[in-house]
Assembly symmetry: C2
Protein backbone atom coordinates (compact mmCIF):
# COMPACT_ATOMS: atom_id res chain seq x y z
CA UNK A 1 0.00 0.00 0.00
CA UNK A 2 1.48 3.35 -1.08
CA UNK A 3 -1.44 5.66 -0.34
CA UNK A 4 -4.17 5.77 2.27
CA UNK A 5 -7.23 7.91 2.87
CA UNK A 6 -8.41 8.22 6.43
CA UNK A 7 -11.07 9.88 8.57
CA UNK A 8 -9.63 11.85 11.49
CA UNK A 9 -12.36 12.38 14.08
CA UNK A 10 -13.22 15.33 16.26
CA UNK A 11 -13.05 14.66 19.99
CA UNK A 12 -14.42 16.05 23.25
CA UNK A 13 -11.89 16.64 26.01
CA UNK A 14 -12.38 17.93 29.58
CA UNK A 15 -15.63 16.00 29.89
CA UNK A 16 -17.29 17.55 33.00
CA UNK A 17 -15.74 15.74 35.99
CA UNK A 18 -12.70 14.72 33.90
CA UNK A 19 -10.85 18.00 33.37
CA UNK A 20 -7.53 17.35 31.60
CA UNK A 21 -8.00 13.56 31.63
CA UNK A 22 -11.32 12.34 30.21
CA UNK A 23 -12.11 12.50 26.50
CA UNK A 24 -14.22 10.77 23.90
CA UNK A 25 -14.23 10.34 20.15
CA UNK A 26 -16.90 11.58 17.73
CA UNK A 27 -18.06 9.96 14.54
CA UNK A 28 -19.39 11.97 11.64
CA UNK A 29 -17.57 15.19 12.56
CA UNK A 30 -13.94 15.07 11.44
CA UNK A 31 -11.31 15.73 8.80
CA UNK A 32 -10.15 13.60 5.93
CA UNK A 33 -6.52 13.08 5.01
CA UNK A 34 -4.66 11.39 2.19
CA UNK A 35 -1.13 10.25 2.99
CA UNK A 36 1.15 8.71 0.40
CA UNK A 37 4.67 7.36 0.31
CA UNK A 38 7.14 9.39 -1.69
CA UNK A 39 10.60 8.58 -3.00
CA UNK A 40 11.76 11.88 -1.49
CA UNK A 41 12.62 11.49 2.19
CA UNK A 42 10.95 13.67 4.82
CA UNK A 43 7.41 15.00 5.19
CA UNK A 44 5.66 17.41 2.81
CA UNK A 45 2.21 18.89 3.19
CA UNK A 46 1.05 19.20 -0.38
CA UNK A 47 -2.49 20.42 0.07
CA UNK A 48 -4.77 21.87 2.73
CA UNK A 49 -8.42 22.41 1.82
CA UNK A 50 -11.00 24.05 4.07
CA UNK A 51 -8.83 26.14 6.37
CA UNK A 52 -5.95 28.53 6.01
CA UNK A 53 -3.22 26.56 7.80
CA UNK A 54 0.57 26.53 7.23
CA UNK A 55 1.97 24.18 4.58
CA UNK A 56 5.41 24.40 6.19
CA UNK A 57 5.93 20.97 7.79
CA UNK A 58 7.59 22.36 10.91
CA UNK A 59 4.75 24.81 11.49
CA UNK A 60 1.92 22.40 10.83
CA UNK A 61 0.53 20.16 13.58
CA UNK A 62 0.24 17.15 11.26
CA UNK A 63 3.74 17.81 9.92
CA UNK A 64 5.29 17.91 13.38
CA UNK A 65 3.45 14.75 14.49
CA UNK A 66 4.63 12.94 11.33
CA UNK A 67 8.22 14.05 11.96
CA UNK A 68 8.02 12.74 15.56
CA UNK A 69 7.05 9.35 14.19
CA UNK A 70 9.69 9.39 11.45
CA UNK A 71 12.45 9.91 14.00
CA UNK A 72 11.71 6.38 15.14
CA UNK A 73 12.01 4.55 11.83
CA UNK A 74 14.67 4.05 9.21
CA UNK A 75 13.04 4.36 5.81
CA UNK A 76 14.46 5.37 2.48
CA UNK A 77 11.29 7.18 1.48
CA UNK A 78 9.13 10.01 2.78
CA UNK A 79 5.48 10.98 3.00
CA UNK A 80 3.15 13.48 1.35
CA UNK A 81 0.07 14.69 3.18
CA UNK A 82 -3.19 16.19 1.91
CA UNK A 83 -5.50 17.61 4.56
CA UNK A 84 -9.21 18.21 4.06
CA UNK A 85 -10.28 20.15 7.17
CA UNK A 86 -13.84 20.08 8.38
CA UNK A 87 -13.12 20.79 12.03
CA UNK A 88 -12.69 24.48 12.67
CA UNK A 89 -9.49 25.32 14.58
CA UNK A 90 -10.30 26.90 17.96
CA UNK A 91 -13.78 25.38 18.13
CA UNK A 92 -12.98 23.15 21.12
CA UNK A 93 -13.49 19.75 19.53
CA UNK A 94 -9.91 18.74 18.90
CA UNK A 95 -9.07 20.19 15.49
CA UNK A 96 -5.31 19.99 15.96
CA UNK A 97 -5.61 16.56 17.60
CA UNK A 98 -7.47 15.22 14.57
CA UNK A 99 -4.69 16.34 12.22
CA UNK A 100 -1.96 14.97 14.48
CA UNK A 101 -3.71 11.68 15.25
CA UNK A 102 -4.81 11.19 11.65
CA UNK A 103 -1.37 11.53 10.12
CA UNK A 104 0.44 9.21 12.56
CA UNK A 105 -2.30 6.61 12.20
CA UNK A 106 -2.04 6.82 8.40
CA UNK A 107 1.76 6.54 8.29
CA UNK A 108 1.62 3.60 10.72
CA UNK A 109 -0.78 1.84 8.36
CA UNK A 110 1.48 2.54 5.36
CA UNK A 111 4.43 1.11 7.32
CA UNK A 112 2.47 -2.04 8.24
CA UNK A 113 1.74 -1.04 11.84
CA UNK A 114 5.10 -1.10 13.62
CA UNK A 115 3.76 1.14 16.42
CA UNK A 116 1.20 0.58 19.19
CA UNK A 117 -1.69 2.98 19.70
CA UNK A 118 0.05 4.31 22.80
CA UNK A 119 3.15 5.10 20.73
CA UNK A 120 0.96 6.85 18.16
CA UNK A 121 -0.45 9.02 20.93
CA UNK A 122 3.13 9.88 21.95
CA UNK A 123 3.90 11.07 18.42
CA UNK A 124 0.60 12.86 17.95
CA UNK A 125 0.95 14.83 21.13
CA UNK A 126 4.04 16.49 19.67
CA UNK A 127 1.56 18.12 17.29
CA UNK A 128 -0.38 19.32 20.34
CA UNK A 129 2.81 20.78 21.74
CA UNK A 130 3.06 22.92 18.60
CA UNK A 131 -0.64 23.87 18.73
CA UNK A 132 -0.96 24.79 22.38
CA UNK A 133 2.50 24.77 23.91
CA UNK A 134 2.03 21.57 25.87
CA UNK A 135 2.04 17.91 24.73
CA UNK A 136 -1.49 17.27 25.99
CA UNK A 137 -2.98 13.87 25.24
CA UNK A 138 -6.63 14.18 26.18
CA UNK A 139 -7.80 14.78 22.60
CA UNK A 140 -5.28 12.67 20.67
CA UNK A 141 -5.88 9.65 22.95
CA UNK A 142 -9.61 9.31 22.14
CA UNK A 143 -8.91 10.18 18.48
CA UNK A 144 -6.55 7.21 18.24
CA UNK A 145 -8.13 4.72 20.65
CA UNK A 146 -11.78 5.64 19.99
CA UNK A 147 -14.53 5.67 22.61
CA UNK A 148 -13.79 7.13 26.03
CA UNK A 149 -10.23 7.39 27.28
CA UNK A 150 -8.64 8.44 30.54
CA UNK A 151 -5.16 9.97 30.57
CA UNK A 152 -3.91 8.33 33.77
CA UNK A 153 -0.54 9.99 33.55
CA UNK A 154 1.31 12.18 31.08
CA UNK A 155 4.82 11.30 32.23
CA UNK A 156 5.16 8.44 31.58
CA UNK A 157 2.19 8.47 29.23
CA UNK A 158 -0.48 6.04 30.43
CA UNK A 159 -3.83 5.82 28.69
CA UNK A 160 -6.77 3.82 30.01
CA UNK A 161 -9.23 2.65 27.34
CA UNK A 162 -12.68 2.84 28.88
CA UNK A 163 -15.79 1.03 27.71
CA UNK A 164 -18.59 3.01 26.06
CA UNK A 165 -22.36 2.69 25.91
CA UNK A 166 -23.80 1.25 22.76
CA UNK A 167 -25.93 3.84 21.04
CA UNK A 168 -24.59 6.89 22.86
CA UNK A 169 -24.90 10.13 20.88
CA UNK A 170 -23.39 13.56 21.27
CA UNK A 171 -24.94 16.84 20.21
CA UNK A 172 -22.40 19.62 19.88
CA UNK A 173 -23.16 23.30 19.54
CA UNK A 174 -20.43 25.65 18.37
CA UNK A 175 -21.17 29.34 18.86
CA UNK A 176 -19.05 31.27 16.36
CA UNK A 177 -17.09 33.24 18.90
CA UNK A 178 -13.41 33.19 19.69
CA UNK A 179 -12.07 32.40 23.15
CA UNK A 180 -8.41 33.20 23.54
CA UNK A 181 -6.41 30.28 24.97
CA UNK A 182 -4.82 32.62 27.50
CA UNK A 183 -8.26 33.70 28.74
CA UNK A 184 -9.57 30.16 29.13
CA UNK A 185 -6.42 29.31 31.08
CA UNK A 186 -6.11 32.40 33.21
CA UNK A 187 -9.73 32.23 34.34
CA UNK A 188 -9.03 28.95 36.17
CA UNK A 189 -7.92 29.08 39.79
CA UNK A 190 -4.51 27.59 40.47
CA UNK A 191 -5.72 26.26 43.82
CA UNK A 192 -9.05 24.70 44.63
CA UNK A 193 -10.84 23.59 47.80
CA UNK A 194 -9.88 20.07 48.87
CA UNK A 195 -13.57 19.35 49.45
CA UNK A 196 -14.41 20.22 45.82
CA UNK A 197 -11.55 18.07 44.55
CA UNK A 198 -12.99 15.14 46.53
CA UNK A 199 -16.49 15.65 45.08
CA UNK A 200 -15.12 15.98 41.56
CA UNK A 201 -13.01 12.83 41.82
CA UNK A 202 -15.94 10.84 43.22
CA UNK A 203 -17.87 11.83 40.11
CA UNK A 204 -15.05 10.76 37.80
CA UNK A 205 -14.86 7.42 39.60
CA UNK A 206 -18.63 7.00 39.38
CA UNK A 207 -18.68 7.87 35.70
CA UNK A 208 -16.09 5.19 34.96
CA UNK A 209 -18.06 2.68 37.02
CA UNK A 210 -21.18 3.70 35.07
CA UNK A 211 -19.46 3.04 31.73
CA UNK A 212 -18.46 -0.42 32.95
CA UNK A 213 -21.92 -1.29 34.24
CA UNK A 214 -23.98 0.32 31.48
CA UNK A 215 -25.65 2.57 34.04
CA UNK A 216 -27.07 5.60 32.22
CA UNK A 217 -28.52 7.05 35.41
CA UNK A 218 -25.19 7.06 37.24
CA UNK A 219 -23.41 8.32 34.11
CA UNK A 220 -25.81 11.23 33.99
CA UNK A 221 -25.49 11.93 37.73
CA UNK A 222 -21.70 11.94 37.41
CA UNK A 223 -21.53 14.49 34.58
CA UNK A 224 -21.04 17.41 36.94
CA UNK A 225 -18.11 19.78 36.99
CA UNK A 226 -17.56 21.63 40.26
CA UNK A 227 -14.18 23.04 39.32
CA UNK A 228 -13.77 24.29 35.76
CA UNK A 229 -17.23 24.94 34.33
CA UNK A 230 -18.23 27.55 36.94
CA UNK A 231 -15.31 29.68 35.68
CA UNK A 232 -15.07 28.95 31.96
CA UNK A 233 -18.81 29.03 31.34
CA UNK A 234 -18.60 32.80 31.87
CA UNK A 235 -16.72 33.01 28.56
CA UNK A 236 -19.53 31.33 26.61
CA UNK A 237 -22.67 33.33 25.89
CA UNK A 238 -25.85 31.88 27.43
CA UNK A 239 -24.08 28.72 28.57
CA UNK A 240 -26.49 28.16 31.45
CA UNK A 241 -29.50 28.51 29.18
CA UNK A 242 -28.06 26.07 26.63
CA UNK A 243 -27.39 23.60 29.42
CA UNK A 244 -30.80 23.84 31.00
CA UNK A 245 -32.50 23.51 27.59
CA UNK A 246 -30.38 20.45 26.79
CA UNK A 247 -31.19 18.74 30.07
CA UNK A 248 -34.89 19.56 29.74
CA UNK A 249 -34.84 18.00 26.26
CA UNK A 250 -33.50 14.77 27.73
CA UNK A 251 -29.71 15.07 27.54
CA UNK A 252 -27.78 12.92 30.01
CA UNK A 253 -25.36 15.76 30.62
CA UNK A 254 -23.92 18.93 29.16
CA UNK A 255 -20.62 20.74 29.51
CA UNK A 256 -17.85 22.69 27.83
CA UNK A 257 -16.00 20.77 25.13
CA UNK A 258 -12.26 21.19 25.52
CA UNK A 259 -11.72 24.79 26.52
CA UNK A 260 -14.76 25.88 24.52
CA UNK A 261 -16.54 27.62 23.00
CA UNK A 262 -18.26 24.42 21.81
CA UNK A 263 -20.72 22.86 24.23
CA UNK A 264 -21.26 19.10 24.26
CA UNK A 265 -24.25 17.10 25.36
CA UNK A 266 -24.75 13.32 25.55
CA UNK A 267 -27.96 11.51 24.75
CA UNK A 268 -29.14 7.93 25.11
CA UNK A 269 -30.25 7.63 21.50
CA UNK A 270 -30.37 9.51 18.21
CA UNK A 271 -33.93 10.80 18.63
CA UNK A 272 -33.08 12.46 21.95
CA UNK A 273 -29.88 13.84 20.43
CA UNK A 274 -31.94 15.58 17.72
CA UNK A 275 -34.44 16.84 20.29
CA UNK A 276 -31.52 18.31 22.22
CA UNK A 277 -30.22 19.90 19.01
CA UNK A 278 -33.55 21.64 18.49
CA UNK A 279 -33.69 22.81 22.09
CA UNK A 280 -30.19 24.30 22.14
CA UNK A 281 -30.40 25.83 18.68
CA UNK A 282 -33.29 27.90 19.97
CA UNK A 283 -31.09 29.66 22.50
CA UNK A 284 -28.64 31.04 19.95
CA UNK A 285 -31.34 31.67 17.36
CA UNK A 286 -33.14 33.84 19.90
CA UNK A 287 -30.11 35.94 20.78
CA UNK A 288 -28.74 36.02 17.22
CA UNK A 289 -25.40 34.30 17.85
CA UNK A 290 -24.11 32.52 14.75
CA UNK A 291 -23.61 28.82 15.50
CA UNK A 292 -23.30 25.33 14.10
CA UNK A 293 -24.66 22.16 15.68
CA UNK A 294 -23.69 18.57 15.05
CA UNK A 295 -25.31 15.30 16.04
CA UNK A 296 -22.96 12.33 16.07
CA UNK A 297 -22.59 8.86 17.50
CA UNK A 298 -19.73 8.17 19.85
CA UNK A 299 -17.05 6.61 17.65
CA UNK A 300 -15.54 3.57 19.32
CA UNK A 301 -12.95 2.93 16.59
CA UNK A 302 -11.09 6.22 16.49
CA UNK A 303 -9.27 7.23 13.29
CA UNK A 304 -10.34 4.94 10.46
CA UNK A 305 -9.41 4.04 6.91
CA UNK A 306 -11.85 5.30 4.29
CA UNK B 1 -35.78 -15.07 65.08
CA UNK B 2 -35.38 -13.24 68.39
CA UNK B 3 -31.60 -13.13 68.67
CA UNK B 4 -28.74 -12.85 66.23
CA UNK B 5 -24.97 -12.98 66.49
CA UNK B 6 -23.02 -11.12 63.84
CA UNK B 7 -19.49 -10.30 62.75
CA UNK B 8 -18.92 -6.56 62.28
CA UNK B 9 -15.82 -6.07 60.12
CA UNK B 10 -13.01 -3.56 60.28
CA UNK B 11 -12.65 -1.39 57.19
CA UNK B 12 -10.04 0.73 55.43
CA UNK B 13 -11.13 4.24 54.41
CA UNK B 14 -9.20 6.97 52.59
CA UNK B 15 -7.55 4.39 50.34
CA UNK B 16 -4.66 6.35 48.73
CA UNK B 17 -6.21 8.18 45.76
CA UNK B 18 -9.70 7.92 47.31
CA UNK B 19 -9.54 10.32 50.25
CA UNK B 20 -12.98 10.61 51.87
CA UNK B 21 -14.65 8.39 49.26
CA UNK B 22 -12.96 5.01 48.71
CA UNK B 23 -13.10 2.24 51.31
CA UNK B 24 -12.92 -1.53 51.56
CA UNK B 25 -14.02 -4.21 53.97
CA UNK B 26 -11.75 -6.59 55.91
CA UNK B 27 -12.43 -10.15 56.87
CA UNK B 28 -10.92 -11.70 59.98
CA UNK B 29 -10.44 -8.41 61.83
CA UNK B 30 -13.69 -7.24 63.40
CA UNK B 31 -16.06 -7.19 66.36
CA UNK B 32 -18.84 -9.56 67.32
CA UNK B 33 -22.24 -8.45 68.49
CA UNK B 34 -25.31 -10.19 69.85
CA UNK B 35 -28.59 -8.34 69.36
CA UNK B 36 -31.89 -9.63 70.75
CA UNK B 37 -35.46 -8.47 70.76
CA UNK B 38 -36.80 -7.37 74.10
CA UNK B 39 -40.34 -6.74 75.30
CA UNK B 40 -39.11 -3.41 76.64
CA UNK B 41 -39.16 -0.72 73.94
CA UNK B 42 -36.03 1.24 73.07
CA UNK B 43 -32.37 0.25 72.86
CA UNK B 44 -30.19 -0.98 75.72
CA UNK B 45 -26.53 -1.84 75.62
CA UNK B 46 -26.24 -4.64 78.13
CA UNK B 47 -22.61 -5.62 77.79
CA UNK B 48 -19.37 -4.35 76.26
CA UNK B 49 -16.36 -6.66 76.42
CA UNK B 50 -12.87 -5.72 75.24
CA UNK B 51 -12.95 -1.93 75.45
CA UNK B 52 -14.05 0.67 77.95
CA UNK B 53 -16.91 2.29 76.02
CA UNK B 54 -20.11 3.96 77.30
CA UNK B 55 -23.13 1.74 78.00
CA UNK B 56 -25.42 4.78 77.78
CA UNK B 57 -27.33 4.30 74.51
CA UNK B 58 -27.19 7.97 73.56
CA UNK B 59 -23.44 8.10 74.08
CA UNK B 60 -22.62 4.86 72.32
CA UNK B 61 -22.09 4.71 68.55
CA UNK B 62 -24.04 1.46 68.21
CA UNK B 63 -26.81 2.84 70.41
CA UNK B 64 -27.19 5.98 68.34
CA UNK B 65 -27.20 4.04 65.06
CA UNK B 66 -29.84 1.68 66.42
CA UNK B 67 -32.00 4.61 67.53
CA UNK B 68 -31.71 6.16 64.04
CA UNK B 69 -33.09 2.94 62.58
CA UNK B 70 -35.84 2.62 65.22
CA UNK B 71 -37.20 6.05 64.35
CA UNK B 72 -38.26 4.53 61.04
CA UNK B 73 -40.26 1.56 62.32
CA UNK B 74 -43.29 1.03 64.51
CA UNK B 75 -42.58 -1.91 66.77
CA UNK B 76 -43.92 -2.78 70.15
CA UNK B 77 -40.61 -4.21 71.32
CA UNK B 78 -37.05 -3.02 71.77
CA UNK B 79 -33.52 -4.36 71.37
CA UNK B 80 -30.65 -5.37 73.65
CA UNK B 81 -27.10 -5.23 72.40
CA UNK B 82 -23.95 -7.04 73.53
CA UNK B 83 -20.71 -5.81 71.99
CA UNK B 84 -17.49 -7.84 71.88
CA UNK B 85 -14.87 -5.36 70.66
CA UNK B 86 -11.74 -6.53 68.91
CA UNK B 87 -11.10 -3.39 66.89
CA UNK B 88 -9.28 -0.79 68.94
CA UNK B 89 -10.97 2.64 68.85
CA UNK B 90 -8.69 5.23 67.28
CA UNK B 91 -6.66 2.67 65.35
CA UNK B 92 -7.83 3.88 61.92
CA UNK B 93 -9.64 0.75 60.74
CA UNK B 94 -13.23 1.76 61.36
CA UNK B 95 -13.90 0.77 64.97
CA UNK B 96 -16.94 3.01 65.36
CA UNK B 97 -18.18 2.10 61.88
CA UNK B 98 -18.10 -1.59 62.76
CA UNK B 99 -20.28 -1.02 65.83
CA UNK B 100 -22.71 1.21 63.95
CA UNK B 101 -22.91 -0.98 60.83
CA UNK B 102 -23.12 -4.18 62.87
CA UNK B 103 -26.07 -3.14 64.98
CA UNK B 104 -28.23 -1.79 62.15
CA UNK B 105 -27.51 -4.90 60.08
CA UNK B 106 -28.49 -7.12 63.01
CA UNK B 107 -31.73 -5.27 63.78
CA UNK B 108 -32.66 -5.30 60.09
CA UNK B 109 -32.23 -9.09 60.08
CA UNK B 110 -34.37 -9.45 63.22
CA UNK B 111 -37.06 -7.32 61.55
CA UNK B 112 -36.96 -9.46 58.39
CA UNK B 113 -35.01 -6.96 56.28
CA UNK B 114 -37.34 -4.01 55.75
CA UNK B 115 -34.40 -1.73 54.86
CA UNK B 116 -32.01 -1.61 51.91
CA UNK B 117 -28.25 -1.57 52.43
CA UNK B 118 -28.22 2.10 51.47
CA UNK B 119 -30.76 2.86 54.20
CA UNK B 120 -28.65 0.92 56.69
CA UNK B 121 -25.67 3.11 55.77
CA UNK B 122 -27.86 6.16 56.43
CA UNK B 123 -28.67 4.91 59.94
CA UNK B 124 -25.12 3.76 60.68
CA UNK B 125 -23.60 7.07 59.75
CA UNK B 126 -25.52 8.67 62.60
CA UNK B 127 -23.18 6.64 64.80
CA UNK B 128 -20.26 8.18 62.93
CA UNK B 129 -21.72 11.60 63.61
CA UNK B 130 -21.46 10.83 67.33
CA UNK B 131 -17.95 9.40 66.99
CA UNK B 132 -16.34 12.11 64.87
CA UNK B 133 -18.79 14.98 64.56
CA UNK B 134 -19.71 14.31 60.95
CA UNK B 135 -21.96 11.63 59.40
CA UNK B 136 -19.18 10.19 57.25
CA UNK B 137 -20.01 7.10 55.23
CA UNK B 138 -16.66 5.90 53.91
CA UNK B 139 -16.22 3.24 56.61
CA UNK B 140 -19.85 2.24 57.20
CA UNK B 141 -20.47 1.80 53.46
CA UNK B 142 -17.85 -0.94 52.95
CA UNK B 143 -18.79 -2.49 56.32
CA UNK B 144 -22.37 -2.93 55.10
CA UNK B 145 -21.88 -3.53 51.37
CA UNK B 146 -18.60 -5.46 51.60
CA UNK B 147 -15.75 -5.24 49.09
CA UNK B 148 -14.76 -1.82 47.76
CA UNK B 149 -17.21 1.06 47.85
CA UNK B 150 -17.17 4.61 46.56
CA UNK B 151 -19.13 7.34 48.33
CA UNK B 152 -20.30 9.24 45.26
CA UNK B 153 -22.17 11.80 47.29
CA UNK B 154 -23.06 12.35 50.93
CA UNK B 155 -26.09 14.56 50.34
CA UNK B 156 -28.08 12.78 49.03
CA UNK B 157 -26.21 9.65 50.05
CA UNK B 158 -25.10 7.71 46.96
CA UNK B 159 -22.90 4.64 47.30
CA UNK B 160 -21.31 2.85 44.36
CA UNK B 161 -20.58 -0.85 44.96
CA UNK B 162 -17.34 -1.62 43.17
CA UNK B 163 -16.10 -5.03 42.10
CA UNK B 164 -13.15 -6.57 43.94
CA UNK B 165 -10.30 -8.88 42.97
CA UNK B 166 -10.64 -12.50 43.95
CA UNK B 167 -7.91 -13.41 46.38
CA UNK B 168 -6.90 -9.88 47.37
CA UNK B 169 -5.36 -9.63 50.84
CA UNK B 170 -4.60 -6.73 53.14
CA UNK B 171 -1.82 -6.55 55.69
CA UNK B 172 -2.43 -3.91 58.33
CA UNK B 173 0.09 -2.60 60.79
CA UNK B 174 -1.09 -0.64 63.80
CA UNK B 175 1.62 1.22 65.70
CA UNK B 176 0.38 1.75 69.25
CA UNK B 177 0.45 5.52 69.16
CA UNK B 178 -2.36 8.01 69.42
CA UNK B 179 -3.06 10.58 66.72
CA UNK B 180 -5.51 13.24 67.81
CA UNK B 181 -8.35 13.71 65.34
CA UNK B 182 -7.81 17.46 65.42
CA UNK B 183 -4.16 16.98 64.43
CA UNK B 184 -4.94 14.66 61.54
CA UNK B 185 -7.50 17.21 60.32
CA UNK B 186 -5.57 20.39 60.87
CA UNK B 187 -2.48 19.07 59.10
CA UNK B 188 -4.41 18.93 55.81
CA UNK B 189 -4.40 21.97 53.53
CA UNK B 190 -7.81 23.46 52.85
CA UNK B 191 -6.78 24.32 49.30
CA UNK B 192 -4.75 22.21 46.92
CA UNK B 193 -3.17 22.70 43.49
CA UNK B 194 -5.61 22.06 40.65
CA UNK B 195 -2.88 20.06 38.90
CA UNK B 196 -2.58 17.70 41.89
CA UNK B 197 -6.35 17.28 42.07
CA UNK B 198 -6.31 16.25 38.40
CA UNK B 199 -3.55 13.68 38.95
CA UNK B 200 -5.29 12.28 42.03
CA UNK B 201 -8.65 11.93 40.28
CA UNK B 202 -7.04 10.20 37.28
CA UNK B 203 -5.66 7.65 39.73
CA UNK B 204 -9.04 7.11 41.35
CA UNK B 205 -10.60 6.63 37.92
CA UNK B 206 -7.84 4.22 36.92
CA UNK B 207 -8.17 2.24 40.13
CA UNK B 208 -11.89 1.76 39.52
CA UNK B 209 -11.18 0.70 35.94
CA UNK B 210 -8.57 -1.74 37.28
CA UNK B 211 -11.09 -3.33 39.66
CA UNK B 212 -13.50 -3.81 36.76
CA UNK B 213 -10.89 -5.30 34.45
CA UNK B 214 -8.99 -7.37 37.03
CA UNK B 215 -5.83 -5.42 36.25
CA UNK B 216 -3.45 -5.77 39.20
CA UNK B 217 -0.76 -3.72 37.51
CA UNK B 218 -3.02 -0.72 36.98
CA UNK B 219 -4.49 -1.13 40.49
CA UNK B 220 -0.99 -0.97 41.91
CA UNK B 221 0.00 2.00 39.74
CA UNK B 222 -3.14 3.86 40.85
CA UNK B 223 -2.53 3.46 44.60
CA UNK B 224 -0.79 6.80 44.92
CA UNK B 225 -1.87 9.68 47.12
CA UNK B 226 -0.54 13.11 46.09
CA UNK B 227 -2.72 15.06 48.47
CA UNK B 228 -3.20 13.61 51.95
CA UNK B 229 -0.39 11.15 52.58
CA UNK B 230 2.44 13.69 52.19
CA UNK B 231 0.97 15.57 55.16
CA UNK B 232 -0.49 12.90 57.42
CA UNK B 233 2.42 10.50 57.04
CA UNK B 234 4.44 12.94 59.17
CA UNK B 235 2.27 11.92 62.14
CA UNK B 236 3.17 8.23 61.79
CA UNK B 237 6.64 7.10 62.88
CA UNK B 238 8.75 5.62 60.08
CA UNK B 239 5.87 5.65 57.60
CA UNK B 240 8.18 5.94 54.60
CA UNK B 241 10.28 3.00 55.77
CA UNK B 242 7.20 0.83 56.35
CA UNK B 243 5.96 1.73 52.88
CA UNK B 244 9.21 1.02 51.10
CA UNK B 245 9.61 -2.29 52.95
CA UNK B 246 6.05 -3.28 52.03
CA UNK B 247 6.53 -2.48 48.35
CA UNK B 248 9.88 -4.28 48.26
CA UNK B 249 8.20 -7.34 49.78
CA UNK B 250 5.69 -7.37 46.91
CA UNK B 251 2.75 -5.27 48.14
CA UNK B 252 0.59 -3.75 45.40
CA UNK B 253 0.33 -0.53 47.38
CA UNK B 254 0.56 0.96 50.84
CA UNK B 255 -1.06 3.94 52.53
CA UNK B 256 -2.61 5.37 55.66
CA UNK B 257 -5.76 3.59 56.79
CA UNK B 258 -8.47 6.10 57.66
CA UNK B 259 -6.72 8.96 59.41
CA UNK B 260 -4.15 6.56 60.87
CA UNK B 261 -2.10 5.53 62.67
CA UNK B 262 -2.72 2.13 61.03
CA UNK B 263 -1.02 1.56 57.70
CA UNK B 264 -2.62 -0.70 55.09
CA UNK B 265 -1.04 -2.68 52.29
CA UNK B 266 -2.65 -4.80 49.59
CA UNK B 267 -1.23 -8.04 48.23
CA UNK B 268 -2.15 -10.32 45.36
CA UNK B 269 -2.23 -13.46 47.51
CA UNK B 270 -1.88 -14.67 51.08
CA UNK B 271 1.79 -15.64 50.79
CA UNK B 272 2.77 -12.15 49.68
CA UNK B 273 0.58 -10.67 52.42
CA UNK B 274 2.56 -12.63 55.03
CA UNK B 275 5.86 -11.65 53.42
CA UNK B 276 4.76 -8.03 53.67
CA UNK B 277 3.84 -8.58 57.31
CA UNK B 278 7.36 -9.81 58.06
CA UNK B 279 8.92 -6.90 56.18
CA UNK B 280 6.93 -4.18 57.93
CA UNK B 281 7.13 -5.76 61.39
CA UNK B 282 10.90 -5.38 61.12
CA UNK B 283 10.64 -1.60 60.96
CA UNK B 284 8.83 -1.21 64.27
CA UNK B 285 10.78 -4.04 65.92
CA UNK B 286 13.97 -2.21 65.08
CA UNK B 287 12.88 1.12 66.52
CA UNK B 288 10.97 -0.42 69.45
CA UNK B 289 7.49 0.89 68.66
CA UNK B 290 4.77 -1.40 70.03
CA UNK B 291 2.54 -2.57 67.19
CA UNK B 292 0.06 -5.16 66.00
CA UNK B 293 -0.20 -6.54 62.49
CA UNK B 294 -3.07 -8.32 60.81
CA UNK B 295 -3.32 -10.29 57.60
CA UNK B 296 -6.83 -10.57 56.19
CA UNK B 297 -8.68 -11.27 52.97
CA UNK B 298 -10.83 -8.53 51.50
CA UNK B 299 -14.34 -9.34 52.69
CA UNK B 300 -16.84 -9.04 49.86
CA UNK B 301 -19.91 -9.76 52.03
CA UNK B 302 -19.64 -7.06 54.68
CA UNK B 303 -21.31 -7.64 58.06
CA UNK B 304 -22.34 -11.27 58.36
CA UNK B 305 -24.39 -13.57 60.53
CA UNK B 306 -22.34 -15.95 62.69
Amino acid sequence: MDEIKIFAPATIANISCGFDVLGCCLDTLGDEMIVRKSSVKGVRITKIIGEDLPLDTEKNVAGVAALALLKNIKEEYGFEIEIYKNIKPGSGVGSSAASAAGVVFAINELLNKPFTKLELVEFAREGERLACGSPIADNVAPAIFGGFTLVKSTNPLQIVELPSFKGLYATIIHPQIEIKTEDSRSILPRKIDLSLAVKQSANLGSLIHALHTNDYFLFSESLTDYIVEPHRSKLIPDFDKVKSNALKAGALGCGISGSGPSIFTFSKNIQTAYNVQGAINKVYEKNGIAHHTYVTKINIEGVKVL
